[in-house]
Symmetry: C2
Subunit: 263 residues, 2 copies
């Protein structure tokens, strides 16, 4: 399993990925899933990958080494793509090519070959973008109304992003909320685990602002997990007890009873 999140706010972009891969619970490893391609002042691109590791690694190698353009025959790479849209198309084509190559044999072996990539960044001369690219090669772009995209084990960490991230959230808060989202996910799914890799890119900076790895014992993240857990406890304790005891002195027969009535 994997969890990757990309948050695209007015100030820029935050991308976070865990590093746990597993082929069964008895075979857990650490693999980097967040990859950066940067030419400062010209482009900064980040890819976070989820799904079958052999598929995403091969797709990444293809867009690095060059994928032949079906019309011109020329090899195209991520570092040469003229726009973010063209770059997303290239990654999509690479994912589709690898998926098509392996799917018959992996299907036969009962192995899941699905893969998804979050692709964000900026190329000089156009705005910053964030895309989610599917294994079939198609993709969607992140919009202002829901300014984040997730791949992999996304459900546990979605409520906090839904409730708190807007397009106007600043980069520091976006990173903090992203880390809380990872905390919720790691508590509930052992297949998502530390260390976490993250990048922060400010709009129009055309270079990485932060690129770091958070180890499990990193003091800030450890403190955030403790504070968040304590705050959740305090929050639910502060909510008054349900009044249904007073209301329901004795349950009204038939009132809120089931259609299939006990005899």
């Amino acid at each position: 399993m994997t969890y990757c999140a990309g948050i695209r706010v007015s100030e820029g972009l935050v991308m976070i990925a865990d590093t746990r891969t597993n082929a069964g619970l008895d075979d857990i490893s650490i693999y980097r899933k967040l990859h950066v391609f940067e030419t400062p002042g010209e482009r900064v691109l980040a890819l976070a990958t989820a799904g079958n590791l052999s598929v995403t690694q091969s797709a990444l190698a293809l867009v690095t080494e060059g994928l032949p353009n079906p019309e011109t025959g020329e090899a195209e790479t991520l570092m040469q793509a003229p726009t973010m849209f063209k770059a997303a198309q290239l990654i999509g084509a690479a994912l589709r090519k690898i998926t098509n190559e392996v799917k018959a044999s992996l299907d036969e072996a009962g192995v899941n070959y699905n893969a998804r990539i979050l692709f964000g960044g900026q190329i000089k001369g156009e705005p910053m973008k964030l895309y989610m690219i599917y294994g079939q090669g198609n993709f969607i772009e992140c919009g202002r109304d829901s300014p984040f995209l997730q791949i992999g084990e996304h459900k546990y960490g979605k409520p906090i992003l839904d409730s708190a991230v807007t397009y106007d959230t600043n980069l520091q808060d976006s990173l903090k909320l992203g880390l809380i989202s990872f905390d919720s996910t790691m508590r509930s799914n052992l297949a998502v685990g530390p260390p976490l890799d993250l990048v922060v890119v400010r709009e129009d900076a055309l270079k990485l602002e932060i690129s770091c790895r958070i180890e499990p014992d990193e003091p800030y993240f450890h403190g955030l997990r403790e504070s968040w857990s304590a705050a959740l406890r305090a929050a639910h304790i502060a909510i008054p007890a349900p009044p249904y005891w007073e209301n329901a002195k004795r349950v009204q027969p038939g009132a809120a009873r089931p259609p299939i009535k006990a005899v």
Copy 2:
């Protein structure tokens, strides 16, 4: 979709179920999924159902009308089951029977026939129990270490239960935490929706303590949703900003960089 949760703490049992069913997003209805069988002083049983509605409704009808015992040929009903374990076996047998009858034709039509039931309550003379019964008829019992069970869309609402419910949580707090869990789920998945049905049963009372339906505009639940949302906002605002900006004056080349390096 559906979400049902059962919380079994030392004081008793809370069970909550939503009422939304859908055959596609354009075909949404309200159906009760929480059903109670009660003979005050003798037994109180509650079933919450998820999955294919035709399968769960038929299984429920079978255990109400009576399922022939394969050895004796006598019809057995939930209201006659001598123990909670025997009652769970009966529900399991009914689910398996219905599933086996429909699965070939539903498979052919591409319709999901999976179903699950949460079954909780108490029969005089033995302790209260909470089970999760699978469509294949097998089941597990809720234990003290993880004093809750969920069926249906369980992920969005699991973090709050994981972080706050223990076997020693009292019934009022268990109900409150259950409702917060439903709030998180309904915010993230439109296929889980109000009204909510809930029951509370105190250990050894052998009757319902609360059985009610919470409509969307019910004041306490509305207030709980607002308070929880405000508390989450306050909680993340109270956490200090990440320190990674100070640490990373300029990203160390190669330090936290990807294995596939930009050229």
